[in-house]
């Protein structure tokens, strides 16, 4: 999977809510090399402030050399990204990292996403050959409904949960898991850490393999700065951009 730096033309930057955008760029070299769970490093400004690129998961891949990113405005970099307009160019590096490993998936796979953690799971769903189940959660209906639709559109069985009960189950995603777990051999999850820990705990109990996708601060995305370390199992550190962002939950020192 060769990586590249590509000045990518913006095809669309669609607001899904006031804060969540889907950015589609023409980036054929990155698109062709990308695998689900991998991410790109995006230059959010042509000025030196903010200085560093921002990491975003690849949300989906088009047949036409395009990729989409799903992002939420949480700070200065994402605020700048929200202003990008079709026709502008944006500098992307990637694809980076170790994506989801599905070599052993025989029975259906369950995808579990919370908030912006849903982003990489759509690409994963697109690429998975067999039956797939998606448990998706977010703060409220506004945020969740447009994302849920993407999964339904490609034939996922979708179950939803919102923090405020405005759509689907009123509560957290792991609540929905018990029902689904007996039918799956593989869980892939991305979202807030407490959610992923809850999921990993249930998977361990049910002896189902669980892959989790982590987020952390990154300067380079390519294994050069060693800034993205998080504690690994044996007291040492693992690097999210290189050994991750997707880990088998057993590789992490999560008190389960």
């Amino acid at each position: 999977m060769p990586q590249s730096q590509q000045q990518s033309r913006i095809l669309a930057n669609d607001p899904l809510t006031a804060e969540v955008f889907r950015l589609t760029v023409y980036s054929p070299e990155i698109a062709v090399a990308a695998a689900p769970g991998q991410f790109v490093m995006v230059q959010v400004s042509s000025s030196l402030d903010p200085l560093l690129r921002r990491p975003f998961s690849i949300h989906s891949r088009g047949a036409d050399g395009s990729i989409s990113l799903l992002f939420k405005v949480v700070g200065r970099g994402t605020a700048l990204l929200a202003k990008a307009r079709p026709g502008d160019k944006i500098d992307l590096l990637g694809p980076f990292g170790r994506g989801f490993d599905l070599s052993a998936a025989e029975k259906p796979v369950c995808l579990i996403g919370g908030g912006m953690g849903i982003a990489p799971l759509l690409f994963l769903a697109q690429e998975l050959p067999g039956r797939k189940h998606a448990l998706l959660g977010a703060r409220n209906r506004d945020e969740l409904a447009p994302l849920a639709k993407f999964f339904a559109d490609i034939g996922c069985a979708v179950q939803l949960a919102t923090d405020d009960g405005s759509l689907g189950h009123h509560g957290f995603i792991p609540d929905l898991l018990d029902e689904v777990l007996p039918d799956v051999s593989q869980v892939c999850t991305c979202g807030p850490s407490p959610m992923m820990r809850g999921v990993a705990r249930k998977c361990r109990a049910a002896e189902v393999s669980c892959q989790v996708s982590l987020e952390t601060h990154m300067a380079c995305g390519m294994g050069a700065c060693l800034g993205c370390a998080v504690p690994g199992r044996d007291g040492s550190y693992v690097h999210v951009c290189k050994e991750g962002p997707v880990f088998n939950s057993e590789e992490l020192p999560w008190e389960l």
Binding site: Q3, L48, L51, L52, G227
Partner: protein, 308 residues
């Protein structure tokens, strides 16, 4: 012009051009292979190596600041033996000269590292990072005390015939004193600056943004300080000065040459533009052509101060 000459000399080492990559910002080079032609570089300096592997600091290790970043990686590295067995085979395939950055907690550490590297084929030079605190002397930084910096330089000098660059810390009152001390102790060149000590706090959580509380500031924000220190140092020593600090364009590099640097290192810029170092080489060629100069060496120290 086919006659463009970008060559510079660092002691016995001739570089095809004066653009190197800074330690800790270029991994072990392989990471950057997709993004630039490594053999176009004047030289490659790899992440600082210690005798034993180091796990580094707990996260968060990095935080962005205004036009810069703080890092507290904690000198994580694979240790000299794994470096030699795992990283050197790839690095040896490159034609660009390889300079190995070393760090230690004691004079013995430095001596042993230099001795070991002296035996390894494919290494063109050693850069000594003296910014780390001396564990034995109660954490006093080698890099802040001229006598200690000189002592480190002398033991490394005694242990290797490789060209020896000593990398200076900017966290001192007068960097020229440090430069003169290591020059007298046998350094072939000095490189500066390492990072400035800084700090950032999350006002909402009231916690430091780095687990280590303090970290090293780098990037364009520090360029004016680095340039001033290079200018002062170039006037104070006879050996070549290698400029480091916030360099991300050919114009930045030219500023350092004019201030007296014989070569430059590209650091933080590698993160936000992984092809920066190669672009700087190309930009320097373009600069020479535009200014009708044949040799990069004519720029070195050529600052026009109007007689001041």
């Amino acid at each position: 012009m086919e006659t463009l000459d970008l060559r510079v000399r660092i002691g016995a080492l001739e570089l095809q051009n004066p653009v190197l990559t800074a330690s800790g910002t270029f991994g072990y080079a392989k990471e950057f292979e997709p993004f630039l032609n490594l053999n176009r570089l004047g030289g490659i300096i790899v992440k600082g190596i210690s005798l034993e592997p180091r796990a580094g600091n707990p996260p968060p290790r990095i935080v962005e600041t205004a036009c810069g970043m703080l890092n507290a990686i904690g000198l994580e590295n694979v240790g000299i033996e794994r470096f030699i067995s795992e990283k050197m085979p790839y690095l040896r395939t490159l034609t660009a000269p390889l300079i190995v950055n070393i760090l230690g907690d004691s004079l013995d550490d430095y001596r042993e590292l230099a001795r070991r590297l002296d035996e390894v084929p494919g290494i063109s030079g050693i850069e000594v990072n003296i910014s780390c605190p001396n564990v034995k002397k109660g954490g006093v930084a080698f890099g802040a005390v001229p006598e200690m910096a000189a002592a480190v330089t002398a033991v490394v000098r005694g242990a290797t015939r490789l060209p020896l660059i000593v990398k200076l810390s900017p966290n001192v009152t007068d960097i020229t004193v440090m430069a003169k001390a290591v020059e007298a102790a046998g350094a072939d060149a000095v490189s500066l600056i390492n990072t400035l000590i800084g700090m950032a706090i999350n006002a909402e959580t009231r916690k430091p943004r780095l687990a280590n509380i303090i970290g090293g500031l780098s990037g364009p924000a520090v360029k004016p300080i680095a340039l001033r220190m290079v200018w002062q140092t170039a006037q104070a020593v006879q050996i070549p000065v290698i400029g480091i600090g916030g360099i991300s364009t050919a114009d930045d590099a030219v500023e350092f040459f004019l201030a007296g640097a014989t070569a430059v290192q590209v650091g933080t810029a590698n993160f936000y533009d992984p092809s920066a170092a190669e672009k700087i080489v190309a930009g320097l060629e373009e600069y020479l052509q535009r200014h009708n100069e044949e040799r990069i060496s004519t720029l070195i120290g050529a600052l026009d101060t109007g007689g001041k």
